[in-house]
Symmetry: C2
Subunit: 183 residues, 2 copies
């Protein structure tokens, strides 16, 4: 950030009075430009022991497999964001969705929230950001071609929980990128 989005003059980074962190502050109008983490919302869409994966048609991680997810927009709920992303990326409809996994990724200022839900029918199809979409059993999942650590952790937890048929909300921190891929 170099310029104030309110008045167009230059900003400098310093700690405002009464604060403890450096902020971008306008030299002219004194507006403080706070920056905060963003929420990525998505769905773990399941059909009994099968889960829905999308192969990414966009960077980062073009060609790798992911769960449908994306940045939450203003004016929607986390659940609406997760269902919207699932429709946009996988043309899949979901029922009985429940909050399932929540990841903190402080090194990239993101919080991931995955909802677990039932696939309503098998009419899914790749949206614009996906190359292909499919249902996978645990043995069929391309474990070494998953796009992000959050995806593998969510899938592994699901298959563990599926054996017990207990799906409590779980929270985990991913504090640095794993070797070989982005967080």
């Amino acid at each position: 950030m170099k310029f104030c989005s309110h008045c167009g003059q230059g900003v400098t980074e310093h700690i405002p009075p009464g604060d403890t962190r450096p902020r971008y502050i306008c030299d002219h109008c004194q507006h403080i430009h706070y920056q905060n983490p963003r929420i990525v919302a998505g769905c773990l869409v399941t059909d009994q022991r099968f889960v829905l994966l999308c192969r990414r048609a966009i960077e980062p991680r073009h060609g790798y497999w992911t769960l449908p997810a994306g940045f939450m927009e203003n004016g929607e709920t986390t659940e609406q964001a997760a269902l919207r992303e699932t429709w946009e990326e996988a043309r899949a409809r979901v029922a009985d969705q429940q909050l399932y996994m929540l990841f903190n990724l402080p090194h990239i200022n993101q919080v991931y929230m995955f909802f677990r839900g039932q696939l309503v029918d098998e009419s899914f199809a790749p949206g614009e950001e996906s190359l292909e979409v499919g249902l996978f059993s645990e043995a069929e999942i391309p474990w070494d071609q998953l796009a992000f650590p959050t995806i593998g952790k969510t899938l592994k937890q699901y298959f563990l929980d599926y054996r017990q048929q207990q799906f409590p909300v779980r929270m985990a921190d991913i504090t640095r990128p794993l070797r070989g891929g982005p967080a």
Copy 2:
């Protein structure tokens, strides 16, 4: 938003190619300025049937009672944000914190996340943003002087759950301001 924070030239609001929503886009450098919801993280600090409340020394809702909470910062986890806010506003230390209540407030682009945790000792005290801090039983809570709907809903749920000694993670939407106060 009137000016591009990257190059200082004017922005206009229109739907970018391949998108479905209007964004602020720089007329000069074409940078798209996305705007996303923010997370408010806080703690429901408990000591058996007592909960810790702070009376606000700042607007909005100066003088009303709240749970310690505030905007999550870049570089921290939701849990760290909740504990930091609890220290800043109530000088209280918390143990065994667990995610408890999650609220969507789409009309103000916020997601609230409250962690439930045990008060470690009774050395709490008002921080700079609080007038006073105290422990309250259900009967003692100033129900008509709570700062925000999220606070009352979290407290009511806690006393219900306390009777059962079961505290599942719960999610709720608050889709418009309730009469008589901000959301």
